[in-house]
C-alpha cells in the first residue's frame, strides 16, 4: 500500500531533477553559443554581400556613363568574394535618371548563402562640349562680345572689336582660341582683343617666321590688336590642342529621340506675347518653328527641329525671349536637318538662354543675347554685338556624345 509519508528515495528523485535542470541549462548555454556563432557568420557573409551589391551599382554606373542605353541584367563575379546581378530601369524616372537594382550574392548567385539587395537612383548628367563656341567651318565674332570659355574651330576665326575671351570660372584653364585650319589668317584679330594671362591662341596656319612677320599670310594675324593678357601665340601648331574635331554636333540624336517628346508635324509659328511651357520634354518640330516677340518659356526642355524647308530659319527666336520673370530660359535649341534660306538657328535680340544651341550648318546670334551653355555649328557661327556666352552646364539635360558625363547619386537604399 502506498504510503505518501514515506520519504525513502526522495534524495534520488531530487538529485535526478537537479541533474536534469543543470543539463538543460548546459545544453541551452551551448546552443546559445552556437546560435551566436552562426549569427555572426551569417552577419559577416551578409555584410560581404552588401559590398558586392554596392559594387554592382558602381558597375552599372560605369556602363551607363559609357552608354545610357545599358539596362542589364548582368551577373558579374567580384574576385572570389561573390557575385552580383545588376539591372537598370528608367520607368517612372525623369530624363537622365536611372534606377539601378543590384543583388549581391555570397559566395555565388547559383548557391547563395547570403544575399543583399541595393537600389539606387542616379542622374547621369550628359557632358558639356569642351568649348563655349565651336564651329566646323568658322566663327565670326563682331563687337562687344564676351566669351567665357574656349573658341574652337576647324575653320577661320574672325574677331571684331572689344572682344573679351575669359575663363569660364575663377581658376578654370579655358579662355583660349584654337583653330586647326592651315590657312593664313586662321585667327584674324580685327579689333581690340582682351584675354587673361596664361591663355593661348593656336593656329596651324603659317608662322610669322615663315612669312617675315605678322603679315596677312600668317596663321594668327594682327596680334598687335591684343590689348591684354599677353596670350601665348602659336602658329604652325602641331599639338593636340589644334587637332580637328571633325564634328561640332554634340547631340546624341538617337537618345534625344527616345526622350519624352512632343512631335509637331507642320511648321509652327508662335505669335507674340505667348507663354510656351517646355514641360520637361523634347519638342520635336519636323518642319521648323518660329517664336515671335515677347515669348516666355516656362519649365525646361528642348526645342528640336529635325527637318523642313521653305523658311528663312529652321528655328527662329525673335525679340524679347526669356524665361520666367525675365530670367534665363532653360531650353536647348537644336536643328539637325532641313534646308533653310538663311540659317538653321537665328537668335535675334534681347534673349536669355541657358542651354545648348546646336545647328547643323549655321547659327546666328544678333544683339543683346546672353547664353549660358554652348553655341556650336556643323558649319558656321556668327555672333553680332553685345552677346555674352558663358560656358557651363545646360538648364535642361540633353544627351551628348563624346564628352564625359557627370554622375550624381540621388538615392541609395537597401531593399
Amino acid at each position: 500500500m502506498l504510503n505518501i509519508k514515506d520519504e525513502k528515495g526522495i534524495a534520488l528523485v531530487m538529485a535526478l531533477i537537479l541533474l536534469a535542470v543543470l543539463s538543460i541549462l548546459a545544453v541551452a548555454m551551448v546552443s546559445l553559443g552556437r546560435y551566436e556563432t552562426n549569427f555572426l557568420i551569417k552577419e559577416r557573409l551578409s555584410d560581404s554581400a552588401l559590398y558586392i551589391a554596392d559594387g554592382g551599382v558602381e558597375y552599372a554606373i560605369n556602363e551607363l556613363q559609357k552608354d545610357t542605353s545599358y539596362r542589364g541584367p548582368t551577373t558579374y563575379s567580384v574576385g572570389n568574394a561573390g557575385q552580383f546581378t545588376v539591372s537598370v530601369s528608367t520607368n517612372g524616372q525623369p530624363a537622365n535618371y536611372y534606377e539601378i537594382t543590384s543583388v549581391g550574392y555570397v559566395p555565388n548567385a547559383t548557391n547563395p548563402q547570403e544575399t543583399r539587395t541595393v537600389n539606387s537612383v542616379v542622374n547621369i548628367v550628359p557632358g558639356t562640349p569642351p568649348y563655349a563656341v565651336g564651329a566646323k567651318d568658322g566663327i565670326t565674332v563682331a563687337s562687344n562680345i564676351t566669351v567665357k570659355g574656349d573658341l574652337r574651330s576647324d575653320g577661320q576665326i574672325v574677331l571684331g572689336n572689344n572682344v573679351f575671351i575669359e575663363p569660364s570660372s575663377a581658376g578654370a584653364s579655358d579662355g583660349s582660341i584654337y583653330t586647326s585650319t592651315t590657312i593664313a589668317k586662321g585667327v584674324w584679330i580685327t579689333g581690340n582683343l582682351y584675354m587673361q594671362p596664361g591663355r593661348e591662341i593656336k593656329s596651324r596656319g603659317p608662322t610669322n617666321a615663315s612669312q617675315g612677320g605678322d603679315t596677312p599670310g600668317t596663321g594668327v594675324y594682327q596680334e598687335s590688336r591684343i590689348s591684354s593678357g599677353n596670350p601665348l601665340i602659336v602658329e604652325g601648331d602641331t599639338s593636340a590642342d589644334t587637332n580637328p574635331l571633325g564634328s561640332y554636333s554634340s547631340v546624341d540624336f538617337t537618345q534625344l529621340d527616345n526622350m519624352d517628346k512632343v512631335v509637331y508635324g507642320s511648321y509652327m509659328n508662335y505669335e507674340s506675347n505667348e507663354t510656351f511651357d517646355l514641360a520637361g520634354k523634347v519638342h520635336k518640330f519636323t518642319q521648323g518653328v518660329r517664336f515671335s516677340s515677347n515669348i516666355t518659356f516656362t519649365g525646361e526642355g528642348t526645342i528640336w527641329v529635325s527637318g523642313g524647308s521653305g523658311h528663312s530659319y529652321g528655328l527662329e527666336l525673335c525679340s524679347n525671349v526669356f524665361g520666367p520673370d525675365g530670367g534665363y530660359a532653360d531650353v536647348n535649341l537644336i536643328v539637325s536637318g532641313g534646308t533653310w534660306n538663311e540659317a538653321d538657328i537665328k537668335i535675334n535680340s534681347n534673349v536669355k538662354i541657358n542651354g545648348l544651341i546646336s545647328g547643323s550648318t549655321e547659327v546666328d546670334a544678333n544683339s543683346n543675347v546672353a547664353i549660358q551653355g554652348v553655341i556650336e555649328s556643323g558649319g558656321t557661327v556668327n555672333i553680332n554685338s553685345n552677346v555674352t556666352i558663358q560656358w557651363g552646364e545646360f538648364g535642361f539635360q540633353v544627351p551628348v556624345v563624346g564628352s564625359p558625363a557627370t554622375t550624381v547619386v540621388m538615392s541609395w537604399r537597401e531593399l
Binding site: S23, A26, M29, V30, G33, R34, E36, T37, L40, I41, R44, D47, S48, Y51, I52, D54, G55, G56, E58, Y59, I61, N62, Q65, V78, G79, N80, A81, G82, G127, P404, A405, T406, T407, V408, V409
Partner: protein
C-alpha cells in the same frame, strides 16, 4: 542480561546489513559523472573557442570594412598603386592581443572602374586565418 546481549547482537547485525553505496556503485557513479562533465566541458571549450574565433572574425571584418569605406571616399585617381595581385597597401593593428594584418589590392578593370579586394590575416590557435571583402568603385565624372 540476555535482553541486553540480544540487543548488542541485533545492532552488530544491522551494521553488517547496511544499505550504503558499494565500491562498484561509487565507481559507476563517478564514471558517469566524469563522462557527463567531460562532455559538457568539451562542449563549453569548443563553444568558447568558436565564440572567441568569431570575435576575431568580427574584429577582422571591421578592420577590412573601415578600409573599404575609406577607399570609397577617396578620389578615384588616388586609388591605385601596383595592380593586383600586388599589394597596394598593408597595415597591421593589434586588438585583443592578436595582430591583424590588412592587405589592400586594387585591380583596374577599366579606365573608370576598379576592383578593391581587402584581405585581413591573423593567427588563431596557431593557425593562420583570413577574411576578404571586395567591391567595385567607379569614377563618377
Amino acid at each position: 542480561m540476555s535482553k541486553f546481549k540480544n540487543r548488542i547482537l541485533d545492532d552488530t547485525d544491522m551494521r553488517f546489513r547496511s544499505k550504503g553505496f558499494s565500491y562498484i556503485e561509487l565507481a559507476l557513479a563517478l564514471t558517469i559523472i566524469t563522462l557527463i562533465v567531460l562532455a559538457f566541458a568539451q562542449l563549453f571549450i569548443r563553444s568558447s573557442i568558436s565564440v572567441k574565433g568569431m570575435g576575431f572574425q568580427t574584429l577582422a571584418y571591421s578592420f577590412a570594412a573601415d578600409k573599404m569605406e575609406e577607399i570609397k571616399n577617396e578620389a578615384f585617381e588616388a586609388i591605385g598603386g601596383p595592380w593586383y595581385p600586388n599589394i597596394w597597401q598593408t597595415e597591421s593593428e593589434s586588438q585583443s592581443g592578436t595582430t591583424f594584418t590588412r592587405n589592400v589590392r586594387i585591380s583596374g578593370l577599366e579606365n573608370s572602374l576598379k576592383r578593391v579586394d581587402i584581405e585581413v590575416i591573423w593567427t588563431e590557435q596557431g593557425q593562420s586565418r583570413s577574411i576578404e571583402v571586395s567591391s567595385l568603385i567607379v569614377d563618377k565624372w
